[in-house]
Symmetry: C2
Subunit: 141 residues, 2 copies
DNA sequence: CTAATCTCTCTAGCAACTATAGCTTCAAGA
DNA sequence: TCTTGAAGCTATAGTTGCTAGAGAGATTAG
């Protein structure tokens, strides 16, 4: 049986985060010791590792909740899980594209350089006037 | 003179967001009409456009605050502004690298495919066991 | 003059935690 | 057995950058 601290150590998830996951229903409420402390077993650890790994891959908690409930039903269809992952891949690719546009723009700003004072600083000038930008890097997070 | 709604329209920043920026001290408190409504002028509009543009480029509000206070002192050195932008470029590049690692891993998961039920779903299996991953895509946001 | 649209303040909510306060329980050494 | 220090408990508030709502007052078009 694991205390919350040991579970945290074994999984790399911080103690308050574990309690948080329990609170929002991502992890089941574990049994308690006589002194009211949480006691975990191997199944809890596996589930928490699953959550952590999915978080590392950028899945939002809601998606993880869905994936967990799928993994609880081994005979369910795999299509749903596949769909969730595809969705995530799509989101990641979009974020990459957006960030690459930003990267280019920032690099351009720096390349134009600053000479001495703010008064003739291209960086500040570009920030003040979007028309000086090479591309559209507009909204839509 | 612009009402807040017109300023919002001209800059593409939503009304509550403008009030929020004022509240956190990014924008100065404008004069008010007899009926207590905010009245803006061209200088306000320029400043708000600056903020919006910097936000689009991903700068956090704290960095924008620094950039604004620099741009208020035209005779100040440009090095600080340059540093802030370089920092942001660095942050963007790191996020891109991280996301590209995720992209690869997600694509791999999908390529391995799901055949029928969750029970033999590679996607769920990989999520449950980090050792099945090709790379480290560990923490550090 | 009235109706429709703005605008005002204030509060609460989103994701996904993190930090703090003030308390209790547990494990190990003297 | 006692004591001390670490680890655990609950509950609340803070983080970032907004967004949404309630309920009231202001302004403007017809």
């Amino acid at each position: 049986m694991l205390t919350i601290g040991k579970l945290a150590h074994e999984t790399g998830v911080k103690v308050p985060t574990i309690r948080y996951y329990e609170q929002i229903g991502l992890l089941p409420e574990p049994d308690r010791s006589a002194g009211n402390q949480r006691l975990y077993d191997g199944a809890h650890r596996d589930r928490l590792r699953f959550v952590r790994h999915a978080r590392e891959l950028g899945f939002p908690l809601d998606a993880i909740r869905d994936l967990l409930s799928l993994s609880d039903r081994p005979e369910a269809s795999c299509a749903a899980a596949d769909g969730i992952v595809r969705e995530q891949l799509h989101a990641v690719r979009e974020r990459i594209a957006r960030l690459q546009a930003l990267e280019e723009e920032l690099a351009r700003m720096i390349a134009q350089g600053c000479h001495g004072t703010i008064a003739d600083c291209r960086v500040i000038e570009v920030l003040g006037d979007h028309a000086l930008c090479a591309h559209d890097h507009a909204g839509g997070d």
